[in-house]
Symmetry: C2
Subunit: 252 residues, 2 copies
């Protein structure tokens, strides 16, 4: 009962004592032929709402798999409320962003089209698949929501009141990220946040001026070297988690 299941699966069904989970053909194939599991083997499930549940595989054939839930191994726990709002980048790097942002505990992944964005098309299905796989790997109890790309201006027009923006600004309108976060008061730390990462080449002047005026946007710098957008996203999220988010908690 205490041995740890190595396999974690995200499912979109309720999880409860003695509940039965039916898995898709794809997952049946994965469990049987890739992981080479057998009936009776233990698998963990989560659905973003009911915590993590251990179950035992019951039926396991080429086309179908079911598991019977045994016990809840972890209750659902709140996640930090932080979005990643970023200008999309080319394929391998955007996959990376989805994976790393998920491990680093982001709640929403929101691509935004800026004036200098080169990649206007984003395969959000692929981003979702990366986020889902990373969630299964990193012991999350939920999967971050992936949005379709939107125009930056539209996102800012509809910006929710009270959500702060950590704006990673190559233009150096702000101060070093460590000082900026160290100076936050308790109210600011408990507010919802978003990390904002511009395109390669940065936001243009019109966008910068809007952000400089924007309520609750905190401009920060990420050191003297030029970071790629994917590096900046991972760095800023890690630093935010360490000082504002939930990295005061120990590993599960």
């Amino acid at each position: 009962m205490t041995a740890k299941a190595k396999t974690r699966l995200y499912v979109e069904v309720p999880l409860s004592q003695e509940g039965i989970v039916e898995l898709s053909k794809d997952k049946a194939h994965f469990l049987k032929n890739v992981l080479r599991l057998s009936p009776g083997d233990s698998v963990a499930f989560f659905n973003g709402a009911d915590g993590e549940w251990f179950g035992r595989l019951d039926v396991l054939s080429k086309n179908t798999a079911t598991a019977v839930l045994d016990h809840q191994s972890r209750p659902q726990s709140p996640m930090p409320d932080v979005w990643l709002v970023f200008a999309p980048i080319k394929r391998a790097r955007i996959d990376f962003v989805a994976e790393k942002a998920t491990e680093l505990g982001v709640a929403q992944i929101r691509p935004v089209i800026t004036r200098r964005t080169v990649m206007a098309r984003v395969n959000t299905g692929r981003l979702e698949a990366n986020a889902l796989e990373a969630s299964e790997q990193c012991e999350r109890l939920d999967v971050p929501q992936v949005y379709e790309p939107e125009q930056l201006n539209k996102v800012l027009d509809n910006w929710p009141e009270g959500r702060r923006i950590l704006w990673c600004d190559e233009g150096a309108s702000g101060g070093p990220i460590a000082q900026a976060l160290a100076n936050l008061d308790e109210q600011a730390k408990s507010d919802p946040w978003a990390i904002l990462i511009g395109p390669e080449g940065g936001f243009d002047e019109v966008e910068r001026n809007r952000l400089i005026e924007f309520p609750d946007a905190l401009a920060v710098t990420l050191g003297p070297r030029l970071l790629r957008a994917d590096t900046a996203a991972a760095a800023a999220l890690a630093i935010w988690q360490a000082w504002v988010g939930d990295w005061d908690l120990t590993p599960t």
Copy 2:
């Protein structure tokens, strides 16, 4: 004179006023056929010692290229003295580690073989190529040194006195990284450092016990989720730079 060269190249020759830089056949091909530059175009050079110099392409043929140095655009500046000591991981992820660690300002990249390391062979030439390309991209004035893999025990046997270790310990023997770094005194902040990242699955008990006893090893945790080794490396380096390294400096 003030327009910024878009192309930066690392070279292994001295750089000085009116010096001539001869480039390899590979670089001639890259400049001529990939970047489509012409004689007279501006290129920036750095060599890890003489700062950054702007020069103009003189000869540019299929087999050879030369540039005449015009002026020094940036003096050489010191880099934070931080190593990344990590258990090697599979190919795409180790490429990522070399690139991200370089952008995040690491001085040395040192793969170590641990008891649970799966990948004992490392293509260090490939790591060097990734580190070099990232250095050119991110405006560094040097290229981090890449070492051949060594046994962790041997690395610790020869550990230089006074170099501190930030040990990212999944086993949670330490406290949260933010608190640990916030509590460092000025002496500790000015000492040389190394970030230590274990293999997937963590260090084994023998290794952990040695690290727990090791002088100047500071064990820290990176939050409640399980990070992949490459994510942990990037996160820890970014956080170290923000609080101990040179991220109080603004972008160049």
